[in-house]
Every structure is written in C-alpha cells, then in structure tokens.
Assembly symmetry: C2
Homo-oligomer: 491 residues x 2
Amino acid sequence: MLNLRPVFLVTGALVAALGVTMLLPMLTDLLSQDAVHRADWSSFAIGATAAIFMGGGAAAASWGRIDSIGIREGFLLTGASWTALVVFAAIPLALGGLDIGYVDAFFEAMSGLTTTGSTIVTNLDDAPPGALLWRSMLQWFGGVGIIIMAFAVLPILKVGGMQIFKSEAWDTSEKFMANATNYSIALSLIYLFFTALCFVMLWGFGMPAWHALNHAMTTVATGGFSTRDASLGAFLTVGRAPLDLVVTVFMIIGSLPFGIFLVAILRGAWKRLFTDSQIRFFITIVTVLTVLMMFRVLNIFDDIDPFTAFRLAIFNVVSIMTGTGYATTDYNAWGPFAVGFFFCIMFIGGCAGSTSCGMKVFRFQVALAALVVYAKRLAHPNGVFVARYNQRPLTDDVFVSVLSFFFVYFATFASLAVVLAGLGLDTLTAISSAGTAIANVGPGLGPIVGPSGNFASLPDAAKLAMSAGMLLGRLEFFTILVILSPAFWRG
Amino acid sequence: MLNLRPVFLVTGALVAALGVTMLLPMLTDLLSQDAVHRADWSSFAIGATAAIFMGGGAAAASWGRIDSIGIREGFLLTGASWTALVVFAAIPLALGGLDIGYVDAFFEAMSGLTTTGSTIVTNLDDAPPGALLWRSMLQWFGGVGIIIMAFAVLPILKVGGMQIFKSEAWDTSEKFMANATNYSIALSLIYLFFTALCFVMLWGFGMPAWHALNHAMTTVATGGFSTRDASLGAFLTVGRAPLDLVVTVFMIIGSLPFGIFLVAILRGAWKRLFTDSQIRFFITIVTVLTVLMMFRVLNIFDDIDPFTAFRLAIFNVVSIMTGTGYATTDYNAWGPFAVGFFFCIMFIGGCAGSTSCGMKVFRFQVALAALVVYAKRLAHPNGVFVARYNQRPLTDDVFVSVLSFFFVYFATFASLAVVLAGLGLDTLTAISSAGTAIANVGPGLGPIVGPSGNFASLPDAAKLAMSAGMLLGRLEFFTILVILSPAFWRG
Ligand SMILES: [K+]
Ligand SMILES: [K+]
C-alpha cells in the first residue's frame, strides 16, 4: 500500500515555504519608485496567502513523524512537489503587472523552477521589479533543489544510472534521513556562497547591484533568465570589464558536482576537484569545443582578434552546453555549422550533482565505456571485460539504466517536436523548442524562439507541452515516467 | 592471429561475380536504338574486365578450402566485401554516359548497394539504359545481400541485438557452413520470386516493361532508385491503374523478415506470418501511422476524397518508414507537421531480416521491453522481472546491445549532421542528408535534397561523408565500428 501522508506533508510544507519567500518580491515592489510597479505588490500578497494557507493546510492535515519513505513514495513526492511548486509559483506572475494569463505564467514558472530560462515576457526592460526578482528566485530555488535531489534522492531511486553516485555510507534508511538533512543544508550553504561571490564580482566589475543580484542567482543556477531583453548582451558595452568571463566562470562552477565541493570541504579532499573523472571529462569537453568554435569565429569574422574570438567562443559554448542559455550575440549569424553545433552541444549538459541540465557528461562516459566493452565482447566473444568508473566496476544494470535514459531522451525529444509541429510551429521552431525544453536550455533557434526572440507567440497547447518537456528533462524522465507506468500502482 | 586468406578469397570471388553481372547492362546499351547510348557499352566492358581480373586474381591467389571463419574474420570479410563491391561497381558509372566523376559514381554505387537511393544523377530521363539498369541491379543485389547477411552473418556476429534471431539449429560451425549455403540460395529464390511477381503486376497494370523491370527490382529491395526524374510520380497519371498501391504492397513485402517466408515454405508454417511478434508490430505501426497521416491529408486538402487521401497516406508512410524513398508528390507542401512526421518515421525501418533500413522495429520492441522492466525494477527494487520476445527471455546482454545501437545511431547521426553543416550545407539540408544516409532512405528535406531535388550540388567531401554514413547504417554500425576499435586488432 502506498503511504500518501508523507507526500502531502512534505509537498504542503514546501509550498508554504515558497509562499513565505513571495514576501521578498512583494517588498521589492513596495519599495519601487514607480507607482505602477508599486501596485504590483498585491499579486505577491495574494500568491503568498494562497501558498501559505493551502500548503500549510495540507501539511497540517497530514502532520506526524516520518520514519522512512518507500521508493514509490519517493517518486510520488518528487513529482508532486515539483508540480505543486510550479502551480503556486505561477499565481503572482499571472496576477501581476506582466499582463499575462495563467498558462503563460505557468510556462514561465516551470521555465524558472526547472532552470530552463525560456521566457514569454516580451518586455523585460519595463517589467515590475518584483516579477523580475521572482523569476530569478525561482531559478535559484530550482538550482539548489536539483543539487539536493541529485545528491540525496536520485541515487536512491536509481534513476538513469544515478545509482553510481550512491554513497556507501547511506546503507540504512535512518542514517540516510539524518545525513540527508545535514548534507542538504551544507550543499545549500555552498550554493549560497558561490551566488554571493558571483554577485560581488559582477557588481565589482561594474554591473548595477540590482542586475548583478538577479544575474548572480540565474548564473549559478545555470538558469539563464535575465532582467533585460537583450539578455547579458545589454551589459557588454565597449570599454566595460569582461563581465561575460565572470559569468562563464560561474556557469562552469554551477555545472560541477556540488557533492565534490562538499567532500572537499568536509574532508579537506581538494584533490578530488582535479582527479574526479566527471570533472576532468567535463573540462576536457569545454576546452575542445571552445577551441573548435574559436577557430570557426576567427574564420567567419576577418577583423576579429584572437582574445575576442576566445571570449565569444567560451561564453557561448559554456552557456549552451551547460544549458544556461544566456545570449551575448545571436549566433544564428555564425552560419549553419555553428547553429548545428550549438544545437547538438545543448544536449550534453554539465556534471551530475550540479545545477546544469542536459544528458550530463557522466552518462556519455558510461555509454562510451559500455560501447568499448561491447566492441570487445563482439570481437572476442569468450573474453571477460569489465568497465570502471571512478575505480568502481560498472555492471550491465548501470549500462541498461544509462542507455535507456538516452533512448527515452531521444524518444521524448522526437515526440515533443512532432507534437509542436502538429500544433502549427514551423519545423525549425518545433525541433529547437522541443530540444531546448527537455534539455532545459532556454533559447531555441530561428527568428521566433532564437536567442533574440521569445516564446510568447506560441499557442497555449505548445506552451503546456513544452512545460511537460521541461519537467521531464529536469527530473531525468524516469522519475515522472515511472509514476505513469501501470506497474507502479500494482502491489 | 587473423587469417586473412578467406577474406581475400570471398571478397575477390564476389567482385569477380559482380564483374560478370556487368555484362547485362553492357548488352542493354548495345541493344539501344540511340547511337550515343549504344557507345556507352564500353564503360561496362572496362568495368567488367577490371572486376573479373582483379577480383578473380585475388580469389585465385588465396584459393583453398575454408573450413571455418572466426568472428573477427567475419567482421573483416563483411566490411571488406561491401567496400570492394562499391569501389568496383562505381567504375562503369564513372566511365559512362552519365558524365560524372569517380566520387559521384562512388556515391551513386554506395547509394545503390546499400539500397539508400539518394542520387546525384540530374537527368535520369535521358540517361543511357545500361546505367539505369546497373543502378537498379545494384539495389537489387544490395537487397538480397542484406537479407542473407541478416539471416546468416549478423546473428553470429551478435551485432546490435541480432543474436535474438540466431537459430538454435546452427550450434556447430560445420553445420552452419552447410546450411548457410542452402538457406542463402532459398532466400535468393524467394526474393527473385517476389521481384518477378512485382514486375508482372506493374507491367500488367500498364507500366512499360522496361520501367516495370527496374522499379520491380528497386521496390522489393526497398531501394528507391527510379528510371525517371519525377520518380514513381511520372507513372501516376489520371485514369491509370493505382500503380502506387502495387508498389506499396511490394515495399511492405520487402520489409518483412524473409527468414519467416523461408520457414513458412520449408515447414509449411504459414501461421508464423501472422503470429510473428515483429511482423505484427510492423503492421500495427504502418496502420496507425497511415490513419494518422490520412486524417492530416484530409485536413489539409479540402477537395480530396477519402480513398485518394488513403492512397497518398499509405504510399508515403510505407515509402519513408521502410526507407524505400520513392516520391509520388512533394510532401514538403503538406506543412511542418508532415515534414517532421516523415523525418521521424524514416528512422523506424522495417523488420530485421528484410531489405529495409532504419533502426528496425524489433529494436523498438526490445527497447520498450527494456523500459518496462526498468520501470518495474525502479518501482519495486526487490522484484524479479523478465521480458520476453517471441517467447524467449531477453537478457541484459541483449538490452545493452540494442540500447547501444540506438545510442550509436543518434551519435553517428548528430556527428554526420555537424560534419555536413561544417562543409557548408544549410541546417535543414545537413540534418536531413545525415538522417537519410544513415537510415538508407534516399531523399532528404528542403529545396536542395528533398523529394524533388538531388545530391549533385553537394561538395565531394559531403558525398564521401554521406557514403560512409550509408555503409555504417546498412551494416548496422557495429560491423564497421568493431573493425575500427583497437581491441579488435589485439590478441
Ligand atoms: K537554462
Ligand atoms: K532507400
């Protein structure tokens, strides 16, 4: 029998907590100089009231001690809490001065909490500050939420090969419950530290404090929401400090496994930062792709110096590959190779245990290891071959998990693209919107949804389909798909 | 130690046999009414001489009894023989009246033998008959070649999950050698029978005998080369018999597992045609997709009757899904949904053991079974779940094979698309050319390489990259990739 009480309790508590955080954008609106923006405070007041009362009510009604949570309850809790948070986070956006309906607000909230960064707001430059702050906060919450989940929840649920990150220390359910809370707090503090550092550096390098605060939150979350229509490009004027390089550094930090930071701090094992297989592979990919794109940029623009080419290359490679999705320039002008290149690398993602999205580099490592073992077995059917990852042997069980993940990834991508095309989007918009949603990147390709466009003009059904794609991508597909399988509800 | 003697012997013998068959198009040219076309006979005479002498020489130099062939020799033989056949098949095309260079001829020969059907010939209507016949013959040879390989070679090599089709009867190497020859002859006779039947029906329904012969060969081979620039559409005039429905039936027959036909005839087990899991799944997919596209066509064209909509839908669904690639109409005009739909279904393919291409439906069945078992294991970590295919249990070994296949498929597709974009092709042309090459379909999308275009204008490097993609796709990737892995050459 499924025990739904802990699911309601935790989901309700999280929704109520979200309601409390709505007081911050409410205050921001109240402090605004602009009378129209000031009036926007009420939307957050209403949203906060709804979230606190309904979330708190659900939690209170199911109050009690939680001794342990079963596997199936874990899946349900994950799916229910993310969905409920989006439903309530959308309320103040729908009521407020952005002048959008609930479907648009739902899309924006989903894009925020999943750290996707696709936006339907057409005029960010004149948007009320409360709404802008709320969008940044949602991405920031989403970032820390996924870090905690990747560390404490997904390895237990064995989703998509994440079991290889399961710590041996957590062999009992009780130990896990006790450690999970402490570790979650520690991870959140590390995350807060990097956000603060990013803010200080952006501010120090000349970005106005308000914009630095918002961009710090969405950078470390590899989210990509901006406070300006021109995205980060609005702050890159000639003679300014290279803010894009600061952002690049923190996008990379946001894409590293936060669990390794924790181990480094707790046990002084700083060497792990340089020996961890996943980090090395990630940095290698970034380096190779940056060099490749740098040559391309030098090739396309005759009058560019190597350093500018390097800045353009590394910023865009890191922004797209980690799934942040900031734009400093419209790379559609870099020719078809660049467009195809960026389309492909957006699926790569960062490290597992980071805020970044996409398939995650460890899955490519495991898949490559599976292929090498498979090729060896084909050539030498009687040999015995074992692949290893971070010194541990990889079993067929892990191979099936990871390879299934790839299969589901592409199947979902293709299905979503066909659905979007069926809803009337042109081919390029449909394919790139599907990809950007499930990879949680943000911008698509082409004139409508490309780096200089937005998603406002899409039909409502397309926005909801993309929202479903974002949630599936963020929760690594199986967390949601398992709940939808009949076997889940049996026994 | 690798024993290369059998590899040279069989490859040489196959090349020499190919040379003998070049006498047929040579005769066709000699019998032509047109003096210019008649002069083309010499290109086939030269090609035949080269193939017979060089192939025969290699075979004679390595002559001797072959007792058994090892696994690695099997891989080498497969890769070497397909490549050598393409190299020699291209010679008469390069020398002849098509007025193309060797790279174009190589592309065309590769497209023929792999039953892809992409063409660089810009004026089929005025091409010499020998060259047209040779193109059709290459696809016909490629079709029977892949049927024999899928029955006798790939299950032994365990490529991409094909081991589930391994017959238990062949448990010793000697038995296998004896049976393989008889079964290969039987399969070829079945193939010949269907080709003859297709020819008779096309001819009987009013297609001129010459065109009926060529189209019969390329239909049963699910190849898609035509004798006319307008492809099959050139023969579909108002008041004519529905030739497209005849072709549809034989494209479906070409996509069914020929091993099942053999079992049906040898053991009288005709019921297997209706109970085989793969056939049922294939027919179900065709039915569902046809109904879906029929509604779409009815929706787009207001003045169309349901029967015409059905004809348009089933012909195009079967043509693209089985990877035949004939065109009767340019479906680019059917809107973005249809374009995205056809792009996706071209990867599906037909049944393993048929002439058709793509991923093959059994792999989707195995992948779905793997996902269901995986979802059950996620929800109930302590349960024991086993998937079955045609009553036999599927092991993790098969899951890894099949899922690896999908992974390599998409990785090759994405890499080829990026390479083609890097060679200057626009995004849509690059992506669709990459897909059509590795899925061995034929036409791409868009104005350049779409159903009404051809591949002549692509740069040479793009033609060679696509040729490599066709070979990889036709030989199920691993047959080639294994040879390229260092482990293959060790031990
Ligand atoms: K993002
Ligand atoms: K074809």
